[in-house]
Symmetry: C2
Subunit: 436 residues, 2 copies
């Protein structure tokens, strides 16, 4: 044999360190993760998580429904299924999307392991290293993680209280075109934005779409919260305006339950074919058991009534959050969401949400620093507060604690001119599923 | 605004054709897929599929178990979970692996959406375009699809009746080192090989491992069938010999049921950390509902007795397959597997399994052509026959039909010198989940 140098020069901590792919170096653990282990202690009020509150679900009825599915259709539910997803469920997904004005064909739908997998697949089929994805500033932390893992460059475009700003989008596309950059995707969460808490206005929707079309950029509409609005009818999705230029991502995680990991993507025909191939390569097929459980739930329960109950519950929590902020943090500013899970808070001047986080956790309250939601590490003057999971009372207690932390921090800043500790302690790249 | 040329030159059939990533062009649909749609008709005997036969599962008991999980632990089962997987299940997975001599810590286990996702994640964190993966000739079609989607170059090494040939592996590594090629992974299915039907001998296991170590190549042991042996005790896994140099992939799809999509990967500590990050990026977390259902099944049922029942059932089917082949296709040769789902058949000289497939389907029998299992498109002189799903009677009928097709084909070859039709009709790159 030839005496060969092992090609995988490692080190003491990781013998395979030298063998990783380039993309793996973009998958970074977050130091926030260590803090979030603490967050799960009962004494901490977590305003960080994106977990839906499932307390209102009729567990016994759901359990009986699934029992019947396994007992009567078990040979199918426990077997491999279609790579594209269970056909009956794809038809029911059309009924769900119809509530937001979307009309589609079951063939256009691909069922995925949560809409996170849909994000992964869309990125996988479109993004070469160095390609540009344009996204709102701020944007969903889990999307930024996917984009980074495929070595995309994310360029942010600002929002205001009416969502993504068309003029800013146009200027960004023009600049990138001038620079010869290849923009592949416009990633947007138009309705009840995570983390921004704002909704793209009805007037702007066709404008955004027209700009994307003009620049030949595929629009990816991520819409997990669209049905969780507080009062009004659902806002028509961007996908309701255009079939060929939009890839739409939906999910049962917030309108029913995330534990089944069932989401979906609706895409133009040829794109959908690629997505199925990519999904078969990634997982062979989504879980038949999960899909048939959700299909039976949709067929046998008042799922729209359940969504209405969720709306009422989350609105009450939103109200608790916003009124507590007004009471305890009058120097901050925040968005007042019309639906969804999050408000986006701008701290009083001089404060840094990233360096303040360890002290907040010590003060038994947690949030996600704004830096998690920007590809370029900016955003430390903001934080995301979620009101989806804790009770209104706990939300109010959490904001009270947060106000104490902020006020203590402000004194430090007034004395020292800047927050003296832990200036770069957190890397929020991948805070893990709890805060998605 | 600037008048910009859309960067995504498309065509009439696919306006986004010009926007796909390089890797997407490696995701090809199979023309076999169209045939396999026909295969699912009841009149066709499919010896093509890799679907386990679930008829022996106690569906009512499983249904009741899951009912209890949802009714009593629903708030957890229906919620997001850990990116690494449900802790109780990870501990039970240690019990399963102990049957094959593996000792590990629950921290070393990452639960995945079927072991296919584990394959995807391992490839994702290690493979840059152009990196080499060494694999058996033939190899699992679903692995070749993943490797291709990450733009790996697969180099095959031959097997004999005792599995991968150490001298051939050594010579291949030496040649690749001499050529300056970067070999990242050795992918192997040592036990009840898919599609080869052979098992790596006990003597060869440490030899293969030592060669991989010498060349600094991480060994990926894919072992979905290891517990489905026909009579003897389970063969100790390669992972039982080495912790640091092996990534082990396991699955409940064949020993219990694929419909939950639960598999796992055991990896050295630092690699495991990267896998968790990659999985969180891909799907946030595996399904809690699925994991807790399997955990409850393992805790409350005689799962080892069920595996023994599967062994008896599959052995009977293997016997039907092998005796029918001896009776009806004496000019062919085949492996006689000691476990698992497949036999690998070498056709009589001059026949081409790929071009013969449409005629076989017309003759109401289906198989997977050997070409599906080679990265370089060779293998047309072989086919994979699976005996896992049909009854013994149907298997015998299928082999009878196959013999008719082969004999008719042979007459054509004798008259024309070669099979006259459809010489390149099939592209078996991605035959879909049914044949995995």
């Amino acid at each position: 044999m030839t005496s060969a140098t092992p090609p995988t020069a490692g080190n003491r901590l990781d013998p395979w360190f030298g063998a990783y792919a380039q993309r793996a170096h973009n998958m970074r653990a977050s130091e926030v993760r260590a803090l979030f282990a603490v967050v799960n202690r009962p004494e901490v009020v977590s305003l960080a998580g994106g977990m839906p509150n499932l307390a209102g679900l009729p567990l016994d009825a759901i359990a009986d429904t699934i029992q019947r599915v396994i007992a009567t259709q078990g040979l199918s539910a426990l077997q491999y299924g279609s790579g594209q997803g269970h056909e009956a469920l794809r038809e029911q997904i059309l009924d769900v999307m119809a509530l937001e004005g979307i009309s589609a064909h079951p063939d256009d739908v691909v069922v995925t392991t949560g809409s996170q997998q849909a994000l992964d697949l869309v990125t996988r089929i479109f993004i070469d290293p160095g390609d540009v994805i344009v996204a709102e500033a701020p944007s969903y932390v889990g999307a930024l993680g996917v984009f980074r893992s495929y070595e995309a460059d994310v360029v942010h475009v600002p929002m205001d209280e009416h969502g993504l700003i068309p003029e800013a989008l146009e200027a960004t596309f023009a600049r990138l075109a001038h620079e010869g950059r290849r923009v592949k995707l416009l990633y947007t969460i138009p309705t009840f934005h995570n983390p921004g808490g704002v909704t793209l206005s009805l007037e702007r929707r066709p404008q955004i779409l027209a700009i994307a079309r003009r620049y030949g950029v595929l629009l990816v509409e991520d819409n997990p919260y669209g049905l969780l609005g507080f009062g009004q009818d659902p806002t028509p999705a961007i996908r309701s305006l255009d079939e060929d230029g939009v890839v739409y991502l939906g999910s049962f995680s917030k309108t029913f339950a995330p534990g089944f990991r069932v989401g979906w993507v609706v895409a133009p025909h040829a794109v959908r074919e690629k997505l199925v191939l990519a999904s078969e390569s990634a997982i062979l097929c989504p879980s038949n058991a999960s899909q048939m459980a959700i299909s039976a739930y949709l067929a046998t329960s008042d799922w729209q009534g359940q969504i209405k109950a969720f709306q009422v519950m989350y609105r009450e929590r939103r109200d608790a959050m916003v009124s507590s902020l007004a009471e305890h943090l009058p120097d901050a500013s925040w968005t007042v969401p019309d639906g969804g899970f999050y408000t986006w808070v701008k701290l009083p001047p001089g404060l840094d949400s990233k360096s303040m986080l360890p002290r907040a956790v010590t003060g038994r309250v947690a949030y996600v620093p704004g830096t998690a939601f920007f590809a370029d590490g900016t955003g430390a003057d903001h934080m995301r507060l979620s009101y989806c999971y804790p009770t209104p009372e706990r939300i109010r207690e959490g904001v009270r604690r947060l106000a104490s932390v902020v006020n203590a921090e402000r004194e430090l800043v007034e004395i020292f001119g800047t927050s003296p500790l832990l200036d770069d302690v957190t890397d929020t790249d991948n805070p893990g599923p709890d805060v998605a």
